[in-house]
Symmetry: C2
Subunit: 190 residues, 2 copies
């Protein structure tokens, strides 16, 4: 998606050779017009897949999932929770997810009543790095005996191996911008 | 907002006398059509206030803020972060916020470059309970020497005092559903 790649080139901040910060338009401040274009593009790629729900994870995925849903006829969005609160009761599907940027392992949870076995679920997230979050979300969908239609990613950092990890599980992956390498302060797209 | 109150009556789960769970449509699974109506209503109430940015806090506020922005001509949405990650660098405005449901105190952060002194900021959140999050967000806007236009809340739990706390600071508060009391398993609206 050229619009997105140009925006990453223009406003993405490189930190070393592994991190691209896009917090001026994607995951701290959010450019709603850009997210609409992203939503339209995901809808174009998955338009024939009869998707019934979008599953993402807090926090940054929520913005993209909600606006994307508008291009899928307002299907429900579910976001997996990373922390446990006293008002959470009932049964949950759970998976363990490691965050490389935060240096933590957390249990992500989705209430059982929000995914049914006849759902066609699109997993969506802002970044794909090592593939930990998407793998955890796919595991949750499988626990619910529902169908994972595919994984929709805004920015894939190919050099961290998440894409291969997902495809090795037989998952369909659609990434709008694939970064092959960050080298000499340049972002090289696939 | 009658549509919202009816939905809370129909699908809200009461836990004791203090907690209303709305996770089937607002903060775990999200009903995008309803959020669009909420966004329209906020836009109606603040249409003459020349709002330039919407400030919310992760996680549940993000969905509502992003869709609401579409009714304010796609103005930028900023969400305050609750946790610190290794890819966060630069200067931040910070405030301490206590969460009564999670039993924790956290530091919320907004990068300094995303709020300018000439911004008219709308603070937005899903719930208003004790007013801690909204007060922290207002403090951050004041640190940036910007203007807080008001506080937009989907569900205010009046009996927990947050509304009074905000008005005592001179803030304009617009809540779409105000719960006076939860009594005998009934939600009583103001």
């Amino acid at each position: 998606m050229e619009l997105l790649k140009n925006r990453i080139r223009q406003d993405g901040t490189k930190i070393g050779t592994e991190i691209v910060k896009v917090d001026s338009f994607l995951n701290h401040q959010i450019d709603i017009k850009l997210i609409n274009e992203i939503g339209k593009e995901f809808a174009r790629r998955f338009k024939n897949d009869n998707i019934t729900k979008i599953l993402t994870i807090e926090a940054s995925g929520i913005a993209i999932a909600c606006i994307t849903s508008m291009y899928f006829n307002n299907i429900p969005v579910i976001f997996a929770k990373k922390t446990f609160a006293s008002n959470m009761e009932g049964d949950f599907y759970c998976a363990k997810v490691r965050s490389f940027t935060k240096g933590t392992v957390s249990t992500i949870r989705v209430a059982k009543n929000f995914i049914q076995s006849n759902d066609n679920v699109l997993i969506l997230d802002d970044f794909l790095a090592h593939g930990e979050a998407a793998t955890g979300l796919a595991e949750i969908v499988r626990q619910a005996k529902a169908n994972v239609v595919g994984v929709a990613i805004v920015i894939e950092k190919q050099f961290q191996g998440g894409g291969k990890k997902l495809r090795d599980q037989g998952l369909r992956l659609e990434s709008l911008a694939v970064i092959r390498e960050i080298k000499d302060g340049q972002i090289l797209f696939e």
